[in-house]
């Protein structure tokens, strides 16, 4: 499927600032454009405001100042699945879904994430990976123009995480939303993104395109070089290594 919005950005941010009580600015005059259909990964050490930016884009933070223009529909998947435990999986996916036949659409989405057989399960009976896939289905079923992923794989075990990476890529290639993935994991960013942002001191400190074609080989020299660059940006490279 081609990107549905042509010419219009999925998100346009100008001078975004978020100050907390003690006048500490977590976001400080931040500019960001997200192209339609673009897969962006955002890295940054803890406390640099990655989640703050994501929450602002999701419309969850009324206290940001600056320009924030997100014209299309937005969907979010959080670090925890945040399914309503008192609604079956299917009813979680259909929640707030305003289409003619929500159940059928939701079943389709569950099938896409490989959870068709769990439509009638209670969320508390799902494994971590299953719950996170249900959360993905709930986000995707809204057919978003911008999909915000807030460290959605960080609580999963390493093997499940690899499966989830493949799943997210497949779904992104099929539906082509713009994606903003917040992550701590440099390798995850390198595996998935078209462009990697490093957030530091409240603004975008680096924006590096990843040109390697997918599926990506970890040993790809271009990726290894990028990895060194990113680690240096994040301030974790040891002396003499790069």
């Amino acid at each position: 499927m081609a990107p549905r919005t042509t010419g219009e950005l999925a998100a346009c941010v100008r001078g975004l600032t978020r100050a907390f009580d003690n006048d500490r600015r977590v976001l400080d005059d931040l500019d960001l454009d997200i192209e339609p259909g673009e897969f962006i990964a955002m890295l940054g050490v803890s406390g640099t405001g990655k989640s703050t930016l994501l929450r602002a884009l999701a419309g969850l933070d009324p206290d940001v100042t600056g320009e924030l223009d997100v014209p299309g529909t937005v969907a979010v998947a959080f670090q925890e699945p945040r399914l309503l435990p008192w609604r079956k999986v299917l009813a979680n996916v259909t929640l707030g879904l305003r289409v003619p036949d929500p159940d059928a659409v939701a079943r389709q989405a569950l099938a896409e994430v490989g959870l068709a057989h769990k439509a009638n399960a209670w969320p508390l009976t799902l494994s971590g990976g299953e719950a996170q896939r249900a959360a993905l289905a709930r986000a995707l079923v809204r057919d978003p123009d911008l999909l915000l992923l807030d460290e959605p794989f960080s609580a999963l075990d390493a093997l499940t995480r690899i499966t989830m990476h493949d799943l997210v890529l497949t779904l992104w290639q099929r539906h082509r939303p713009a994606v903003l993935l917040v992550t701590h994991d440099v390798d995850e960013a390198l595996q998935l993104a078209d462009r990697i942002l490093v957030l530091a001191d409240g603004h975008i400190a680096a924006s590096l395109p990843v040109e390697a074609s997918r599926p990506r080989d970890r040993d790809n020299p271009a990726l290894i070089e990028l990895r060194h660059l990113l680690l240096a940006e994040l301030g974790v490279t040891k002396e003499g290594q790069s």
Binding site: F78, L84, R87, G96, L124
Partner: protein
Amino acid sequence: MSETTQSTAFARPSAPVASARPGPAKAGPAKAGPAKAGSARRRYRNHWWYRLISPIALVLIWQLVSSAGVVSAQKLPPPTTVWRTAVNLVTQNSPAYGTLQGAMLVSLQRMAIGFGVGAAAAIVFALIAGLSRLGENAVDPPLQILRTLPLFGLVPVFIVWFGIGELPKTILIALGAGIPLYLNMFAGIRSVDAKLVEAAQTLKLSRTELIRHVILPGALPQTLVGLRQSLGLAWLALVVAEQVNANAGLGFMISQATQFLNLNVILVALAVYALLGLITDAIVRLLERKALAWRRGLLES
């Protein structure tokens, strides 16, 4: 099967490491032979009727103590006598006591009206206070004050204000039912996971949908705890209210029996109170099982 072999395979290399350290080496060997440990320990098989054994034994002891004359029948009539009294009260309409079922109906009706009024008010107030800060500031302080007043200490005040008819009784029961329900439902609404609310906001739920699908179901477990407390206190309030110049009902039966020093009738009426309390508690348990089915999933997995 494959899981067990795998786990022992993983456990083995760690064993020498563990024994090298002096302290926590015990865990290793115990895990190595779980089958032996399992068969050696005799497992306690539970049945639901096991819970009946101790109450039945108590009644039997009561019967033996009374019929053996250890305690005089005046002070403690044996269960058989109490049972005969109950049968008589059901089958015969005595001038002093009326019938047991008649008295029970009157009491039940009082309870139903008082509880209904109290619970309805509690739910409305909990919604007002729980869903907005303004509502909380308006509603919560007076209700917190009311909660600290000793409920049964209000009886004389109610008599002065409302006389000795049905009204003070209804109000007392309504307060008994309403206060725990309000407190728990309010707390339940406020303790709904903010992360779920946030997720629901990203799903573009309207305020009504948010309340209906997220906040109320999230508050339900705590509300049901409140419902059970509220039923308990409402029954208590009924008993107290009926001591105040009732001319019908179980409480009236008890005060009549007190005048005639008829312990049999008092015990029968008390047993009926207890039975009604048990029944309403069972209804709430059933409600919990139905409404909180999603939690059972947690236990089964």
